[in-house]
């Protein structure tokens, strides 16, 4: 009787059992949603498409993020899916476009993939430029870089690049996958292809101040 008095009106109307059931259903649905989300956030899921397995995954196998001395790895979603909830949801919704192109077979052969490589790479470069290479910085934090432990080239270039408010992706392109056709002024080959940007355009001064 006492319990009934404490219950709010809506709870009285639907009854205690239904309320409990609804609560459990909520937990199950939310858990299931997250489980499904995480299931699509695994390397094994990514390479279940041969588009990924035969092109980008093979290239990635030769790089330090796949295999290295200590076995600490960065798998596909570590770089390609944001960790924060909001951006992650947005990226996952955008990924439905990729499912559509899987059905269309847009890049289902290495030839087709290589023809699209420039555009696909540019999409990722733009995304990482926009979020200040957040996925790199999840592990590689500028603030904790010990320049004395870095090689002479890295310890010289990193502080300079940070001063120019450059972000990781400005210089570190093609570290996990092969680069698309790029014009490097080295002959007729690849003439007319886009040039590799090294983040030449410095950010607006106001924007740089905000970041600090």
């Amino acid at each position: 009787m006492n319990l009934e008095k404490c219950m709010p009106g809506w709870l009285k109307r639907i009854g205690l059992t239904s309320a409990l059931l609804l609560f459990v259903a909520g937990v199950v649905f939310w858990g299931g949603f997250n489980w499904a989300l995480e299931a699509t956030n695994k390397e094994s899921f990514c390479i279940s498409c041969h588009e990924m397995e035969e092109n980008v995954f093979k290239e990635y196998q030769n790089t330090i993020h796949y295999t290295n001395r200590t076995g600490v790895r960065a798998t596909c979603p570590d770089c390609h899916v944001p960790k924060e909830w909001g951006p992650k949801m947005i990226r996952k919704i955008q990924a439905s476009n990729e499912v559509w192109h899987k059905l269309l077979g847009t890049v289902d052969t290495p030839e087709k993939f290589n023809a699209k490589r420039g555009q696909l790479a540019q999409n990722e470069w733009n995304r990482m430029k926009k979020n200040d290479s957040q996925e790199c910085r999840n592990c590689h934090n500028y603030s904790y870089m010990d320049y004395t432990e870095q090689g002479p080239r890295a310890s010289r270039t990193h502080p300079k690049a940070f001063d120019e408010s450059k972000t990781c992706i400005d210089c570190h392109k093609g570290i996990a996958h092969q680069l698309p056709r790029l014009d490097q002024h080295i002959g007729k080959q690849n003439e007319g292809a886009p040039e590799l940007s090294h983040g030449e355009k410095p950010a607006e001064p106001a924007e740089a101040a905000d970041k600090k």
Binding site: N62, T63, I64, G151, P152, R153, R156, T157, G174, I175, Q178, L179, P180, R181, L182, Q184, H185, I186, G187, K188, Q189, N190, L196, H198
Partner: protein, 145 residues
Amino acid sequence: MRLIPALALAAAVLFTGTGVVSAQEKLLSERGDVSIDQTSKVDMFRPEKDKENIPRNFQKQPPLIPHSVKGYVVTQNFNKCMDCHSKERAEETGATKVAKSHYLDREDKKLQTISPRRYFCMQCHVPQFDAKPLVENNYKPAAKN
């Protein structure tokens, strides 16, 4: 007695002879005494740490690469070396600029861009590893003119 010095000499010859033979046996290849179809037990050589430019050993020697080139790819699409060493990029990156000789074709005619026969940098310029020389090298460069 003449026999004793002769014997001693024979023994000495025999000794030094076997000494030479055993020294030759000890000289193994860099991958050790393992036949080609087996995996070498010798540890992989590690690239040397990045350092300053390495002086040339003789005139016109292709300069050695004083830094690690691990993961550097030279493909039809992209030449990682030229990303820093090309004449357009060298000033910004502080890398050694590609030499003028690399902008000549085989008839010594000047080209606007790097000669295609120079595209594969690591055919001549090689990175350095911590492999110890198997035999002593007493090469000395000719005096500079």
